[in-house]
């Protein structure tokens, strides 16, 4: 596959504050890449560097094989959609869509053609003569996307485009975006801190933390084989349960408190005996009323949180709080003692010191 965007050793500092550190990333043509990370980790900053809206401190950026490190935003072949929509308030929707094209001296007929095309795709034909103030949030976001669309750019950059919308509209536009991507097939870089958006939209997700990419993988791998403790804890809601214990029996078992569980089926590197952290997701844990003492983990139910389609069970095992996802109809009373079994094929073990997945 051809590389659409290449970032080489990108450094960015605001004065003495280093925000991006030696960042390297390759994004392929037609790929939907999501940048995900906690607030302030540098996602928007990276996007602004790609767009050319920030002067980088060191490194290089290539778009479509061209070195654009010093190029102006307009010359990079990108379209950008902002969180606050950033529609020009004094122009009509049509004016907003054509502003960039007029600056590029595109002919009148061509402008009309492209606006008609974008308006058709985004279903905003009826809104073309309105001012942004007379649009709803979802409509504004569509126009903002349209503004990127008419530029016929190869690369689209999105900075949290849906975060100002309510949950329902967000879900709708998410699907629309995915459809749009399938239809256009261009490269999209999408910043969000909503993990559902990331998992549903992305071909690959880059998880960032304080200016460093922690893991760059497809959603499935990120979810099931997080490369380190941070990624494991960041992805998934509720968060993964972490049990600090010991690998014993030559890497065949994990001892947590008084329970020794078999690590049969663990999908990872070679295990050696010693202290480690076992990460298990609430949804890959089964709850049984009976178990084998010393082999399955005994836990006391604290709380039941029904979520409609399923339920979340909060329990305490060996003095540690844990959560488990169960079927909505499996009602478990408070204070009952249950036995937990973990699906080791979906579990992760982390080194205590490096916090890396083993």
């Amino acid at each position: 596959m051809n590389k659409s965007i290449e970032v080489k050793d990108l450094d960015l500092a605001f004065g003495s504050v280093k925000v991006l550190k030696k960042l390297n990333i390759d994004i392929f043509e037609g790929e939907f890449l999501v940048l995900l990370g906690p607030s302030g980790c540098g996602k928007s900053t990276l996007l602004n560097c790609l767009a050319g809206l920030l002067d980088i401190t060191d490194g290089q950026i290539f778009i479509d094989g061209k070195n654009v490190t010093w190029a102006e935003p307009k010359d990079r072949g990108i379209g950008m959609v902002f969180q606050s929509y950033a529609l020009y308030p004094q122009m009509t929707v049509k004016g907003n869509l054509s502003f960039g094209l007029k600056n590029q001296k595109v002919s009148k007929e061509e402008i009309a053609k492209r606006i008609a095309y974008a308006a058709d795709i985004l279903q905003i034909e009826d809104l073309l003569d309105r001012k942004p103030a007379a649009l709803s949030g979802g409509q504004r976001q569509r126009v903002a996307i349209g503004r990127a669309l008419v530029r016929e750019a190869n690369v689209f950059l999105f900075d949290e485009p849906l975060s100002n919308l309510d949950a329902k509209l967000r879900a709708e536009l998410r699907v629309e975006l995915k459809r749009l991507h399938n239809r256009l097939g261009n490269t999209m870089v999408y910043v969000t801190h909503d993990q559902i958006e990331a998992l549903t939209l992305a071909d690959r997700i880059a998880i960032m933390r304080s200016g460093i990419i922690q893991q760059l993988d497809d959603p499935h791998t990120i979810y099931n084989k997080p490369t380190n403790l941070f990624v494991a804890g960041f992805i998934g809601s509720p968060s993964m349960n972490f049990l600090k214990g010991e690998i014993t029996d030559g890497g065949k078992a994990f001892k947590f408190g008084n329970t020794t569980m078999s690590l049969d089926g663990y999908d990872g590197g070679k295990l050696t005996d010693g202290t480690a952290i076992l990460g298990v997701r609430p949804e890959y844990t089964t709850v049984d009323t009976t178990g084998i003492a010393g082999k399955t983990l005994e836990a006391v139910v604290d709380l039941d949180e029904p979520m409609g389609s399923d339920s979340l069970l909060w329990l305490t095992a060996e003095g540690q709080a844990m959560s488990v996802r169960i079927k909505a109809e499996d009602i478990v009373d408070k204070k009952t003692v249950v036995h937990l079994k973990f699906d080791m094929t979906k579990a992760s073990l982390f080194d205590v010191n490096t916090e890396q997945r083993i």
């Binding site: 307009k74 950008m80 308030p89 942004p132 503004r147």
Partner: protein, 302 residues
């Protein structure tokens, strides 16, 4: 039955809460406002009344009584015939001088300051902060320190006592505060709009004229009010940097009122003062409306 219904309605709170017209709060607020208004309106009343009385009537002494016989002679005299030293052509010359000083000073200073403010807010260049600090510092330098150096400077370039020289002085002295005003306004506009315009290929002037200016009506109105009233009311620079033929209206007014020949013509003095104050008054009234409209137009999010 109906009687009971009415009764229930009176007891059960429902809908808009009734407000007492004569609440303590209202009495306080309106009381203070009325007193303040009277405080400012009485001198105005006296001025207008006096300016339309003849001198014999004024000598009778009651300054609050309305005129028995209305005459506009004092206004005409103030405008066209009042004497200042040797000249006897009234305020009119000073009025036109002031117009010729205020209009270009206001336009030039606002044009430059708005571009300055925009550049400082959106195009962070190297040393922008130092530049800005120096500019702000300039606002705190006492005028007295600069008066004589500027006299020298203006005579060097041959503009001392000329209207153009005074225009330059007003433009320069207005720069710090106006730049600060515009910079703070442009900084408050959403940064993403500016970024979007850059991605859309607009450059420095394109963004300024097509994106920023249409959103800036309110701040321009504020700047115009500041400059027009400030420059129109200026006395110090006018008296220092011009010669009698070029005196602005404020200096002219002073000379009419303080002229020592003959009797004090209170009615002419009052009329002259009113004429001098007309321009700032009109600016406040007209732009007040524009200002509200401008804010309403600027408040559109999107």
């Amino acid at each position: 039955m109906t009687a009971i219904d009415v009764n229930i309605e009176a007891v059960e709170p429902r809908g808009t809460k009734p407000k007492k017209v004569l609440s303590n709060r209202n009495i306080m607020v309106y009381g203070v406002l009325i007193v303040a208004a009277i405080y400012y309106l009485i001198p105005l009343y006296v001025m207008i009344m006096t300016s339309v009385k003849g001198m014999p009537e004024i000598r009778m002494g009651n300054i609050f009584s309305p005129p028995v016989e209305i005459t506009f002679e004092p206004w005409v005299k103030a405008w066209a015939h009042a004497c200042t030293g040797l000249n006897c052509d009234g305020l009119s010359r000073g009025f036109w001088n002031s117009v010729m000083i205020t209009v270009p000073s206001t336009i030039i200073s606002i044009l430059i300051a708005s571009v300055n403010g925009y550049a400082l807010a959106n195009w962070k260049f190297k040393g922008a902060n130092v530049f800005f600090t120096i500019l702000i510092f300039g606002a705190f330098i006492p005028y007295q320190v600069l008066i004589y150096p500027i006299v020298l400077l203006l005579s060097q370039i041959g503009l001392y006592t000329k209207l153009a020289g005074l225009v330059i002085v007003h433009t320069v002295f207005g720069m710090p505060i106006l730049t600060l005003l515009f910079r703070n306004y442009f900084i408050s506009l959403p940064e993403e709009l500016f970024k979007a315009a850059r991605v859309d290929g607009a450059a420095f002037w394109g963004i300024f004229i097509k994106i920023m200016l249409p959103m800036s009506l309110p701040i321009f109105v504020v700047a115009i009010i500041l400059q027009v009233t400030g420059i129109w009311n200026d006395f110090l620079f006018g008296v220092i940097y011009t010669k009698p033929a070029n005196y602005p209206i404020t200096v002219q007014l002073n000379n009419i009122v303080n002229s020592v020949q003959g009797v004090k013509e209170y009615n002419v003095n009052m009329a002259a003062t009113m004429l001098t104050a007309i321009v700032p008054l009109v600016v406040y009234f007209v732009s007040g409306k524009l200002f509200v409209r401008g804010i309403a137009a600027g408040a559109v999010k999107g």
